[in-house]
């Protein structure tokens, strides 16, 4: 590999940093000193973006590897695949997690063929041959046991834990999939070797067992959770076209039907190095880490850019209301379509979110919980269910008995009307900025928090500096902006309302 382009990249980035410094100092609050100056950005030839920050308080380091992939890259039929892949990424590679990958491979292939045969037979519905299915299932179980003989259980996690790794985990969301852990800083070479290997050569072993694990996860998060059920139905109603409407955990039937080939294809499409951001914060020397990452992640093959999400949600014409029957106390969600990250109005919604629901002095808490005493809890989110793409401003509330979701809705509409009619007082705006500034200072306290933050903004907006510049855009929001945005977006026809209600006949999914 040629060394020159990388050097130039580094110089270019450093140049940018120097250039941006005076701007940041002039506009950002001085309470987060030097945040921008402390970040080193480096771009590998294969497109991977590396963000580094030195913090020498303790001999430890946090890494956050974030891919721009998630539920929005799925469609009906393969829902849940992004999350399932994230689980599979812990199973190892051709070298980790296996005694002999070459001998293991035919068994894995045989399993796939059997699974495919069972799927074909099952798809015949009532006409399917039960005897054949039973025989296939028997064969499948046998081969699965044979394949398991090659597995070195949890070898990847074992390597990390043996070397003091903590907080090893990953998350899959609508737009991002994130892998993270912390460990003693002198173990960086081990991490780089293991992590670059699994991101290049993951082997989907124990695939069919892991689908069962994910189905259990779905039962826990969604099926047996009143709020999980409500959120799933609410989001599906809000997005009829955009894949935001699909559940990240996946529909049960899709999870059962997902093939290994589909999962591998998903990996090939979305896990190119240019689709990833790697943030490393802690007791590091950037120059050494760059060399290490070049040696390891630098060898990952560049891949074509992953295809963009083309579907856009058509404008909503008329209020949508959804009821979810579940034998639990009531719960309400109200959403309004709004633009996503990058749109000038996005920062206005951030301010509205703070006004409405940050802290005990926020408008909704004061009115619904303290004064009217109608709600047990109320909160607002300005980027639901993800920050990219046009999304929703959502208010969620739980009424306090004997009050109903109807009463809560009434109160919420009154509070939203206030935003349209009364200008926000300067002190309220000042409070929000104080909180953002203090939040930026606090974010520097934790390696993992900072790594997550840098990688997040880089992945969402292509610019980690958003962690600071967002504050400056929020500072520019005027009371008039808030009035205009509230009047434009908080309308009946742009609204989705979901309520959790008890079924007429308790006992169906009701409590005994």
């Amino acid at each position: 590999m040629n060394r020159t382009p990388r050097q130039r990249d580094l110089c270019f980035v450093l140049g940018l940093l120097l250039f941006s410094t005076p701007v940041a100092a002039a506009t950002s609050n001085a309470t987060a000193p030097g945040l921008e100056e402390r970040v080193v950005e480096y771009r590998l030839a294969n497109g991977l973006v590396l963000l580094l920050m030195e913090r020498h308080q303790a001999p430890i380091v946090a890494v956050n590897l974030t891919y721009r992939v998630g539920g929005v890259h799925e469609h009906n039929g393969i829902t849940g695949v992004a999350h399932l892949y994230e689980h599979m990424a812990f199973k190892g590679s051709r070298t980790i997690g296996v005694t002999d990958a070459r001998k293991e491979q035919p068994f894995l292939e045989k399993l796939d063929r059997l699974a495919e045969a069972m799927a074909v037979e099952k798809a015949k519905g009532p006409a399917s041959d039960q005897t054949r299915l039973a025989a296939l299932r028997k064969q499948f179980t046998d081969v699965e046991a044979q394949a398991a003989g090659f597995v070195v259980p949890a070898e990847l996690a074992t390597l990390y834990q043996r070397h003091g790794g903590v907080g090893l985990n990953a998350t899959t969301g609508k737009v991002l999939t994130r892998y993270f852990l912390s460990f003693p800083a002198n173990r960086l070479p081990l991490w780089a070797a293991v992590e670059s290997d699994r991101m290049a050569h993951a082997v989907l072993r124990e695939f069919y067992k892991e689908k069962q694990v994910v189905l259990e996860e779905r039962r826990m998060r969604t099926d047996n959770s009143p709020s999980g059920r409500l959120h799933e139905a609410f989001t599906a109603a809000a997005f009829q076209a955009h894949p935001y409407g699909l559940p990240v955990i996946g529909w049960s039937s899709d999870l059962e039907g997902l093939s290994k080939a589909q999962t591998e294809a998903f990996f090939q499409t979305h896990y190119g190095p240019a689709n990833a951001v790697l943030a490393i914060v802690g007791d590091i020397t950037p120059k050494d880490v760059i060399a290490l990452v070049e040696q390891t992640f630098g060898r990952l093959q560049a891949r074509p850019p992953s295809p963009p999400v083309l579907t856009t949600e058509p404008p909503q014409a008329g209020e949508r209301r959804v009821e979810v029957e579940y034998d639990a106390e009531p719960h309400l969600l109200i959403g309004f379509h709004k633009p996503g990250a990058g749109h000038p109005d996005d920062a206005v919604f951030d301010v509205i979110e703070s006004l409405l629901s940050d802290g005990r002095t926020s408008r909704l808490h004061k009115r619904l919980v303290q004064e009217q005493q109608r709600a047990a809890s109320v909160s607002a989110f300005s980027n639901y269910p993800g920050a990219q793409y046009p999304n929703l401003f959502v208010i969620g509330a739980t009424p306090r008995a004997p009050h109903s979701t109807t009463e809560i809705e009434q109160s919420l509409h009154e509070e939203l009307a206030r935003l349209k009619n009364e200008p926000v007082a300067p002190r309220e705006m000042e409070k929000i900025l104080n909180q953002i500034d203090a939040g930026l200072v606090r974010s520097l306290r934790s390696n993992s928090g900072m790594a997550s933050r840098l990688a997040y903004f880089q992945a969402i907006s292509g610019n980690w500096r958003e962690t600071v510049t967002l504050r400056d855009r929020i500072a520019k929001v005027s009371p008039e902006d808030i009035r205009r945005v509230a009047a434009q977006y908080f309308t009946k026809s742009n609204r989705i309302v979901a309520t959790l209600v008890r079924p007429d006949k308790p006992g169906l999914n009701g409590k005994p």
Binding site: S196, K209, Q295, N434, R442
Partner: protein, 486 residues
Amino acid sequence: MTRRSVFMAWLAGWLLLSAPSAFAQTTPLGDPRTMTFDPVTITVPEVERVVLENGLIVYLLPDRELPLVTVSAMIRTGAIYEPADKVGLAGLTGAVMRTGGTARFTGDQGDEELEFLAAHLSMGIGSENGAATLDILKKDLPRGLAIFADMLRAPAFEPAKVEEAKRQALEAIRRRPDNPSGIASREFRKLLFGIAHPLGRESTTDSLSRITRDDMVAFHQKFFAPNTLMLGVTGDFEKPAMLEALRQAFGDWQPQQPIQAAALPAIPPVTASAAQGESRSVHVLRQPLTQTHLRIGHLSVKEDDPDYVALALLDDILGGNSFTSRLFRDVRSRQGLAYAVGSRLAPGNAGPGIFMLHALTKGSSTHQALSSMLNHMERLRQEPVSSEELQLAKDAFLNSFVFSFADAGQIVGRLMALDYHGLPKDFLQRFRDRVVRLTKEDLLRVARQHLHPDRVVILAVGKDDEFEKPLSTFGPITVLPLKPGS
């Protein structure tokens, strides 16, 4: 297969054969399995402990990285000391101390000022202690400290905030049945300690309805004094100036009636609970769920027990370490029965501790999961753990030890907790030294002494008509009623 793909497969195999260490292809760093590193050295900063004239203990550890100061308080109190007919009093008292104002400002004014300053101030009373934390920008410290001290010393318990806290607590009780894992946790505690024991009982609509503002005032009066309080200060400050500020805020607070740990009512022994039985008991709580919440366990050691170290490592090996533990590898990865599965050792302080195994699995695999978990518990008593397992558990603990000293707040918080429970200040260092010396034989002896799969309490919350086999194979079944809020 076409001829071409046969050829490709053969070629792929050949490539692998020619390069037995495939790692050489992906990284020039060598095989991560054989990498070695220097041990991680930790320099633990010296923390100063000062006792003010009125008995207030202060721990100080400056850390000048950021312009923030954190003051945390630990108070000798707890829900275990509340009257049996007023369960919930301690929690409500802590909540209203935070929200109910003082003689100098109303609750709303306090919130307004703190949130404007972007300060975080929390206060609460848990089972075995009270805790409060102020986290604030250095420039606002004088104001924040005044508010913080005022709330601890002279809370006003505004009647409206008392009512608000009670309303919220009642609604929380009403919503308990909506969260199955909450049901399982509370019911399991009740089974282990007994419903009347201070560590097992739970608040009810009745117990809350009996609690008055006067009760809260009296509870605060009884437990909050300078000599029942410890403060830990970390962040951007100079020690002399900080001590002066603390003397200003707390110095004239007179110790009323010294409350020593010995003067507090003793926690009664556990007598009336399923955990006292000589055999296993199975408890089923019927809920219309598609997944069973399983809890298996019994009472266990206190934190100062000499066997705690070995038991902690047994717990790591059995189910405490995620991904690598036996339960994770077998029940989750190998059998695909659960997403959440593991074990937990919670050593006791005021009373006994808990050793438990837990899992969530679909109704039709409840028996299988339970059976596997019990077998794993039994196996720890039957045969020594493997050398590799013990080494991994030790290495994982020792190499991640540095994370227990990662920031000043953590270091000071631990010193306060050790002080509070009467444990030596180098408890963790001694713990580490004993981990280094542990042998497989130690673990086997401790497993035999402290793990009792033959007399565990088993709780299953779920739809028992979907279980693939009746749980009576594990012991006599009791069907539990769910009586929310009563």
